[in-house]
Symmetry: C4
Subunit: 291 residues, 4 copies
């Protein structure tokens, strides 16, 4: 009799944990969807609180409200973190996964600042550290990653095109280094008409910053060439940057189109268990067995 | 006899309304096309009048002409609105549809400003309200939406890619929050060489504004990083933003290509059961059988 | 005998004209290619001369050289224009075609300025007219259009997507008018901290200029929002503009891909003479006949 | 006996060279991959040294360290260059190939500056030459090209689309010349409200620089139109530039998609003669026969 009770108790525990697992980790059930929506709202609101705190006018007007809201969200996310550890099938694996670390980092800063260590005399250095830790709370936005389950196809397309993207980024890097060095040579050490030095091309890293600003078509204008030769080189670089964007676009489009075509294949060969057949295939392309 | 008259009168009424329905709501008949073109011209001219009124030099030179043109277009659009209500098969449905509200908003502001309430003493607050209402008339441009029947395929492609676009926008949001916070930490509270504070990174929202300006490659240059670390982070963000545009492009391209492919294939050959025929095919392209 | 001579003379004339027609209007023969390359060099050099003339330092140093080069190229293009009229199968058609007008405009400005009318007293107004006519010579670059025979496939893709591109441009126009009006309301009539007015949003057209600068991600920074609400609206518009570029890209990609797919079909049905079959078709999809 | 020794010695020599050839020129073996990774790190570090040297603060603090690092990398790359010449199957062909010249240019500047010619009295002119030669060392980054073997497919897609890209660049050139000339006419010679001249549109080349900055959506803002007509023309040009980017994107996407499709289909089924198999297929997907 006691044995039965234990078993049923065990069953209860397990079913209780499994039910919560479905709600917290999955989004297929109505309860799971509701949990996701509530979590989304909580994340956005908590990030909004961090933002408001950084605005001096708001911070001075509602100092208590912001602190209370901060603690409310921290306790909420602590509960969520505890529940996730309890419900997870392999708690250690969750804790050291990307999501686990993000969930921990979302609650840690508030507790750290509340430590007695930070309570004492507020030197400038300590304040800087506190400020840095406080802003870490904005990284809470990464918790949104829980919801990005739709991103899988995207991630795969980008992943399968990684070699080509690396080539593209290397080309950009080469162009930036070369043009940066050339502009440093052409524009470096110039003076304007009143004899004052024009900054912005004083060293290769600064010139490279300009080259990146120009090539990505951002174009702040805080640094811009003043000599005819520099302007001609800049014009060439702009057209290069303008044309270069087409390369990764074409790559990812082709990858996605390919993935889309491949994505139509859901059948598994009953003989060799291979996947990845075209939708118009009637025979397995690996072993020749009928599909 | 009187019955017949009534019927023919009823028929007349119906045919009169139906004839106008075709002209106003449809664009297949020559009269419907002419109506659309005239309406297009009227919309563009009326928006031009609103624009001209906002330019001080023009407003002072032709004050009467602008007021008259304004009333002319308002009465024209009022007639059109009345006709649409009369001709519509379900008037209430039209009135509360998107187009109905746009059509109402296109005529309302002029009437509201003409009310005796706005005639009296012109306090600063009242003038601000009048100005806001007046500018609402520019929303008349939304009436153009009547003509955008071609947009359907586009809207469907965007709609079917909405999940992926949401993922993309979430990623942009996450990047903007993270980089904005980091830049607030790095660049916030800096002073230039003359000891004056440099604004632009004073709070997270301001830093996020900069992050959006940079990531979308707009790059005003009213706010730009001044420290080496800030510039390095900005350079990384620019390259990220430059690369990120490829993701939605690839998605929409793939969706549109897919939609294009889908549009072609609907029939199955009754003889060899092959699929994948073009929509204009009358015979199976594999066995030659009639579709 | 005399008849025969006339005929042979006629033949000679015709063959002479036909030979030149091949050289001037076609690019298949070696002579035609050489003519095209020489013409290309002449066009680029003549445009370079116009450019150099606009730079004051160069104009003052080599005044005679530039005038002589100008006359050299004008006479060269005059010869070419005369040859084209003589050789063309339908001279009137060539003269009133796009290329004919471009070729005429390329030589006209130099002759007009040399007229006695422009020789007299040089009033400011006359100088402005002369300057405008002189700069018209830069439009000579349009003569390059003769060489853009490769553009046909591109032009067709853009032409077949014209309805969608019109929808896209209408959407941009609507967004620009709406955001321009809103920003005029929000930012118009502001003053900076020293009490001086901030220009840039003084009228709807000016706000629309800003909206276009922002939406196309150009971002000069000569006009930028200063209020929190204005910045928020600007940020939304930037993301809209950043996302919107994907729409025409997707459309044209899909059109080009479709054209490419269609481009693979070269067969004509031997029974019903229909074209446009897929490359994997074995039967005509219109009549069912064997291909 | 001596003959045998010679042969085995010869064999040894050949195998020694072949083994090194595999390591240096190929990346298939583990040793070859390790060599590539080490070379990559050496290139990046040596470019970093050149960058650091251009920053005045770093140059003054660690003058000796930078010189030593410079010589270390120069000797390293000299060894690599010598090894490549020794191992290459056709040394002369390697020396005069693109990679050979890049490898030589990567080591030459350091040796040239060490020549006695540059040791003497340091006139301003000489210093400028030395500076230019020194910055040439940054071109070392081109050595990265050894690793870009993945770029082949990309290069082919761009190469096969070269005619269309030339058309695109010609169109951009035509637009830039025309708009540059028009803006020079409209905005040239203006004065601001205080009577001072506004520079930026003083000559056609300067206007063209502005046109390129605008059309590629870089938008520095160092030069921007001030008249209403100029702003209207600029707005049109921005929309043109915003739309124009779609053309090359579409072209390259289509080319890559085509290349992707081509890359998959090479084999013909020997039984049913069907084509269109994936490159990893071993059996025909239509009849199941062995490929």
């Amino acid at each position: 009799m006691s044995k039965l009770t234990t078993v049923s108790h065990k069953d209860d525990t397990r079913s209780w944990r499994e039910r919560w697992y479905e709600i917290i980790f999955e989004a297929d059930t109505p309860a799971g969807k509701l949990f996701d929506v509530l979590l989304l709202i909580a994340i956005l609101l908590s990030v909004l609180v961090v933002m408001c705190e950084s605005v001096e006018a708001i911070r001075e007007e509602y100092p208590k409200l912001l602190v209370r809201a901060e603690w409310f969200f921290t306790l909420l996310f602590t509960c969520e973190y505890a529940m996730r550890i309890v419900c997870a099938r392999r708690p250690m694996r969750y804790i050291f996964s990307f999501y686990g670390i993000v969930d921990l980092l979302a609650i840690l800063p508030t507790y750290i600042i509340a430590l007695p260590f930070f309570e004492g005399g507020r030197s400038a250095q300590r304040l800087a550290v506190i400020r840095a830790i406080r802003l870490l709370r904005a990284f809470r936005i990464f918790k949104l990653a829980h919801m990005l389950s739709e991103a899988t196809a995207l991630r795969q397309a980008i992943w399968s095109a990684r070699a080509k993207i690396a080539v593209f980024l290397s080309s950009v890097l080469i162009a930036v280094v070369i043009v940066g060095s050339a502009m440093h040579l052409i524009e470096g050490g110039r003076e304007n008409s009143e004899g004052q030095p024009i900054h912005g091309f004083d060293s290769i890293p600064e010139s490279m910053y300009w080259a990146i600003v120009t090539m990505t078509t951002v174009g702040y204008g805080d640094v811009s060439p003043t000599t005819a030769l520099g302007k001609a080189l800049a014009a060439c670089m702009m057209i290069l940057g303008y044309c270069m964007i087409i390369v990764p676009t074409g790559i990812v489009s082709a990858e996605l189109a390919h993935a889309g075509r491949k994505g139509l294949t859901t059948q598994v060969c009953p003989e060799c268990m291979a996947e990845g057949h075209d939708s118009d295939a009637t025979h397995c392309k690996y072993c020749g067995g009928k599909l």
